[in-house]
Symmetry: C2
Subunit: 437 residues, 2 copies
């Protein structure tokens, strides 16, 4: 090998992945992370930093020379952690959860370590086949129709996100039917409180009739189980019957709420999925697997190389992470996790209902409560939200449902217990007291 | 919290992310991984398994009850590792590398641990701002024009893959120009040996003239620095001048070879990038950062929320991984890594040139050598490739350049040293001996 000199005597024919150096330094980082989890409750949930806080602190250019791990970890403590909004805090109740667990962490370590690019079977047979195995396992836990499994005519794939899943389903459909809709925005059918903000099969049918009359070819419906705003559930069965009449491809996006389908008492929300062509849900949202793990099933496979089921050519070995989660917890513990979160959300709903200054705005679905102060409209509610979030003791987000500004309280963190929900509610009441004087 | 019973007495109100359990088990997995890296050279590089090997070994359904980490790791050894094609083996010379390092591994651990969803600034300010910082650092290391940096008018983003980068650039361009090309396949201009398989600016100009004459609006060019087949480099400067005449958006995909741009002696391949609108390269291919880390720069920013720069709403904190790599190695060691790999490829090229039975088919570019047996055509060369790969001692891939079947030998693994290249060549010669008797 050519050797290279460096004026300061720095060793340049280094081994960037020496196994003993990895062993030593990874142990240091494990302890750093375990300490972070132990302490995470103490940090402000929503970062209290101002824009450009970090840009002003880090050097403008990379250094030419190596720095020590200790220096870098010191900077993580000093500069990065204060700039995090802590999604793993037990007091994080915003958006939907970014779910995590020790099993998921260990699975991700293995995925990273092997760093195989599983775009085709031969580039690492285990990566492809384990993905067959775990998507079949999870499909069975969700009681998906057998046609969605590899032991049937279909099968599952792990995408990075629900958006990628929709895009892939759309592309599949679009290519097949050579429709003239694209590019441009897909038509949106509005929902209302009358249907709990779910899509109306009648309105869908009417829209299809109008499309056909206008000479268009409708080809794709994205139905949702658990919308982003209010976790509303579209009636899959009725929509499916309408769609099938017109041979429209039905994709069901159940990113968050689909996870609940592993519990028999929530499975009925997925009824009608047997009329769909594809279905996706994200274990990274509620099944303790860390980002990016969105499982997507189709009824009809026909290919074996996963590169043809996704956008990118590269592919991480995400299946091993999901495999660890399913094995370390087993179905019963995962069900218990879902049920516990739903019970905590129900508890929060009860607390809200017990205070006449507040109202619950949409039917509570799964572990999401949409609520607000009855008086004061958007402005006062937004002020209350900011007051709560600015304390750093809890973090919620908001949405607008049927033109009404509402606060969203979602339970789903691995560390969240009853006391965190109770304390968050107490905090909300106190901030409301201060505003309503 | 509601409590749940389980007939076998399993504890159900568990903490899936207990920090002490994580500490204990992550240490076990660190040792498992360090052992894997120490042993990786001993495994067959290309998995020697047959299709369905794993499907036949794992249970058809997930278990209801938890299993121990020890049991699972035992299964990783027994079932997963034999089914891996080991991209981290020092004898992996196929495709392009999936580059890794201790620094990248530690960065990924932190990314996973924080598990923040950085789709907007407030969801974790550090995630957004550190991405500003590291893409500016790397852009400067590549001597990109200042207009591609946040300190200029543009900025960088980390995508999961080069495909996502192209898709985002294309969408940006398509939306702006409302072109009528989509959906459908983009036109492909053929290259030839005469231009070292690079795109000809003359042919491009002619195609644009024809498009306009046909009433079409050309709007997008994807130029490549380091093609998948032969690492050919399109002449960015000439293509840029033609494209700018027609106001065509130019995206430069330099996924693999762009990494070499951090070395002054290779920077000239990027000359003309100042005429492009967007540029992407993947540190996960050659800068030791593990998958999925594709940096993309645009000349014109205007938004701060990274969700608008990508397909998915979710976002991993990939910037912290790249940050660790840049800091732990510094520019000089990363340059040294690139130079060392190129020197090893040059050495391999010399070995090939010294054996009259072989020829080098395309100009060696960066760390890729395209070569073949002179006699016997595709069939004999394919037989040779399979003979080499079937030994498990080295793994190469193939491509077809100008209708000629060739073998590809790429250097890029963190563990690869001179002796691995020499032994691979010896093996190739031995297998050739056996075939050519």
């Amino acid at each position: 090998m050519d050797s290279f000199s460096c004026s300061n005597g720095l060793q340049l024919d280094f081994n960037p992945l020496d196994s003993e150096e990895l062993r030593e330094q990874a142990h240091v980082v494990v302890d750093f992370i375990a300490d972070y989890y132990r302490e995470v409750e103490k940090y402000p949930v929503r970062s209290q930093m101002e824009p450009n806080y970090l840009l002003n602190k880090l050097p403008e250019n990379a250094l030419d020379l190596p720095e020590s791990l200790e220096t870098i970890l010191e900077d993580v403590k000093r500069y990065i952690i204060p700039g995090l909004t802590h999604w793993q805090s037990p007091n994080f109740f915003a958006y939907y959860p970014a779910s995590s667990s020790t099993a998921g962490f260990l699975g991700e370590m293995l995925c990273t370590a092997f760093n195989v690019v599983g775009f085709s079977w031969i580039t690492s047979p285990a990566a492809t086949e384990l993905e067959f195995v775990v998507t079949d396992w999870l499909g069975r836990m969700l009681s998906l129709p057998k046609s969605f499994s590899f032991s049937g005519t279909g099968g599952g794939v792990i995408h990075g996100s629900a958006s990628e899943a929709v895009l892939c389903a759309l592309t599949h459909s679009a290519l097949e039917k050579a429709a003239g809709h694209l590019p441009g925005k897909p038509p949106v059918l509005l929902t209302s409180a009358a249907s709990d903000f779910a899509l109306s099969p009648g309105a869908f049918d009417t829209a299809l009739v109008a499309d056909v009359a206008a000479g268009l070819t409708p080809f794709f419906l994205c139905a949702t189980v658990g919308t982003t705003s209010s976790a509303a559930v579209d009636p899959l069965e009725e929509l499916g019957h309408v769609a099938n009449k017109y041979r429209v491809w039905v994709h069901v996006d159940a990113a968050y709420a689909g996870n609940a389908g592993i519990c028999p008492e929530f499975r009925h929300y997925l009824n009608g999925v047997e009329l769909a062509d594809s279905f996706s849900m994200s274990p990274h949202k509620w099944l303790l697997t860390y980002m990016d793990c969105c499982c997507t099933w189709v009824r009809d496979n026909g290919v074996v190389d996963y590169k043809d089921w996704q956008i990118a050519l590269n592919r991480r070995f995400r299946a091993i992470r999901l495999w660890l989660v399913l094995r370390r917890h087993g179905a019963v513990r995962l069900q218990s996790h879902i049920r516990s979160d739903v019970a905590l959300a129900r508890r929060f709903e009860m607390l809200v209902l017990g205070d006449i200054r507040f109202e619950v705005v949409a039917k509570r679905m799964f572990s999401l409560v949409c609520f607000r102060l009855v008086s004061g409209g958007s402005e006062l509610n937004a002020t209350l939200l900011e007051a709560v979030n600015a304390t750093g003791h809890a973090y919620m987000s908001h949405t607008v449902i049927g033109e009404v500004y509402v606060l969203r309280f979602v339970v789903g963190g691995a560390f969240t217990q009853e006391r965190h929900v109770d304390e968050a509610w107490k905090l909300i009441q106190e901030e409301a007291d201060a505003l309503l004087i």
